[in-house]
């Protein structure tokens, strides 16, 4: 079965490539996960070159960081990747806390972990629904959003927002959680495993999906390292790199969870990594709820926050990969430079090389398996 054309056969009179045409998978397209434009030079159905063109939703958060105080930048962090906003706020808050040596009380850390993991599950549900919608199965999208509604209701109860939460503050959280949240989360943790099993039986084990994803879009571990691709992309290539285990932060060392890794490097491996990650997140949430200490949720923070000059960074495992914030401070109350290293940017940078010679539906399936969120790429 041909899955990749290594070289394009010469034209009828023997010269190199036969007619190619440029297909513009434009910014408005049902399969591009946002405003992404891919200029595909195609030979019939085979792609000879797929060049992503980005910048359609570039809002320049990094410049906004220079014009706002440290605390005023917090809402921006949620809007970089709105599907896993908690992680992004966590990274920025963590960087500032690290630099200013602010102590975070343990209860706040545990709640941060619980909300981050809930957000990870919500983000993976959106990915799952959207990827299957790309492949033509339009029904799982609705089921995924059903489960996601439960998470969004829980998070709305504690921070008032359904998507762009701005829940963490320097030194802790802005409000404490209440009993409704704890009971709701426990109920959710019980509700999810049968649903995940149903999805496994109905969707993951579906022969058409298996044929559609297995062996498609191989990305070697070496390519991931060279391009800086992280998250499920590198874990689907056999490398067990997860920021929560390799560069532990917050209270993650207290929990017992596995890093799902599949060595096959194809789209199916990345798919299975994310499905298993949801189960591991449920484990972490359950352990965190059991270990949740009582106490305050806000540490001591100076009134006007000024960081000592220098550069600091903090990395978290967001839903899509490694998100790192690098802040440069010159002692004032606004940052001198905020660099946001987003996972989807690096994950997409390998698309041009990885999709050479693929056929169009396979290239789109591979793009779906990379889990791109375009505002994450463009910032």
């Amino acid at each position: 079965m041909i899955v990749r054309k290594e070289s394009i056969p010469p034209g009828p009179s023997g010269e190199a490539p036969s007619e190619t045409f440029v297909l513009n998978l434009g910014p408005q397209h049902p399969a591009a996960h946002g405003v992404l434009r891919v200029l595909m030079t195609m030979d019939g159905e085979w792609i000879t070159k797929a060049e992503p063109v980005i910048g359609y939703i570039h809002r320049m958060h990094e410049k906004m960081g220079e014009n706002r105080t440290w605390a005023q930048f917090l809402p921006n962090t949620s809007r970089i990747d709105y599907l896993s906003a908690m992680h992004y706020t966590h990274a920025f808050v963590g960087a500032v806390e690290r630099a200013a040596k602010i102590e975070v009380p343990p209860r706040a850390e545990y709640v941060r972990v619980i909300t981050s993991e809930l957000n990870r599950i919500a983000s993976h549900m959106v990915w799952w629904g959207a990827m299957l919608a790309d492949l033509g199965g339009l029904t799982p999208f609705l089921y995924a959003f059903d489960d996601r509604e439960l998470i969004l209701d829980l998070l709305e109860g504690i921070c008032g927002a359904r998507l762009t939460y701005c829940y963490y503050r320097f030194g802790g959280l802005c409000n404490d959680i209440d009993d409704d949240f704890v009971q709701g989360t426990r109920a959710f943790v019980k509700h999810m495993p049968p649903r995940l099993k149903m999805y496994r039986d109905l969707v993951t084990d579906n022969i058409i999906l298996r044929k559609r994803l297995t062996g498609i879009g191989p990305i070697s571990a070496e390519m991931c390292r060279k391009y800086g691709a992280t998250g499920p992309v590198i874990r689907g290539s056999g490398v067990a790199y997860d920021v929560r285990k390799i560069e532990p932060y917050s209270v993650y060392p207290q929990f017992d969870f596995k890093i799902p890794t599949y060595p096959e490097c194809d789209s199916m491996a990345r798919y299975l990594v994310r499905m298993d990650e949801m189960e591991q997140s449920l484990r972490i949430i359950e352990q965190a709820l059991d270990q949740l200490p009582a106490g305050p949720v806000m540490g001591k923070v100076p009134r006007v926050l000024k960081l000592p000059p220098g550069d600091y960074c903090y990395a978290v495992e967001a839903a899509r990969g490694r998100f790192m914030v690098r802040i440069v401070s010159d002692g004032k109350d606004t940052p001198y430079r905020v660099k946001l290293r987003t996972p989807s940017f690096s994950n997409l940078s390998l698309y041009e090389e990885a999709s050479k010679g693929m056929i169009l539906p396979d290239a789109l399936a591979m793009m779906g398996s990379l889990d791109l969120v375009i505002p994450d790429i463009d910032r």
């Binding site: 910048g55 320049m60 990094e62 060279k226 800086g228 390799i246 940078s349």
Partner: protein, 160 residues
């Protein structure tokens, strides 16, 4: 492969020495620091001259590091621009930062995209935001900004 800080220090110390004459040298010697990761977030900091960034990238590639980000900082008061390369290691907790400085009037340094192809996009973005030219880069056209943009927004003297 799991490198240690000692191995990195030794590898980078071989970069010390005179800077080649044809590159306009900033006033920095090669300096290597081990850093308090709890405070800064990275373990190893190497300040190199612009001509040596490719060698530094090759050293780190040999040790199995992955490219995290390439970015710039505009130090307008010192009339220099700093280019910062972040690297992470997929197997151990060891973060390396390689930094260099170029003069603001003619910010040029070689590209590391032959060593780390992922740098292609990062360098293009840094060029977009700061105007830093990466010599040897295949395609230094506007990336995040509109195709006809000729301004560099993250410079401190940028007026919209």
């Amino acid at each position: 492969m799991k490198p240690s800080i000692e191995q990195l220090t030794e590898a980078f110390s071989c970069l010390a020495g005179p800077v080649p004459a044809e590159v306009t040298a900033p006033s920095w010697p090669v300096a290597v620091y081990t850093v308090d990761a709890n405070l800064k977030g990275y373990h190893f900091d190497a300040a190199v001259s612009p001509a040596q960034v490719v060698t530094a990238a090759e050293i780190l590639d040999r040790f199995g590091f992955g490219l995290d980000a390439v970015t710039g900082v505009d130090w307008i008061a010192q009339n220099e621009m700093e280019v910062v390369y972040d690297y992470f290691h997929p197997e151990i907790n060891l973060r390396v930062v390689v930094r260099t400085r170029v003069p603001r009037a003619s910010p040029e340094l070689p590209t590391i995209s032959p060593v780390f192809p992922g740098a292609n996009w990062h360098e293009r973005e840094t060029h977009d935001f700061f105007g830093i030219r990466f010599l040897g880069h295949p395609n230094l056209t506007p990336f995040l900004l509109p195709e006809d943009a000729d301004f560099h927004p993250l410079r401190k003297d940028y007026q919209p």
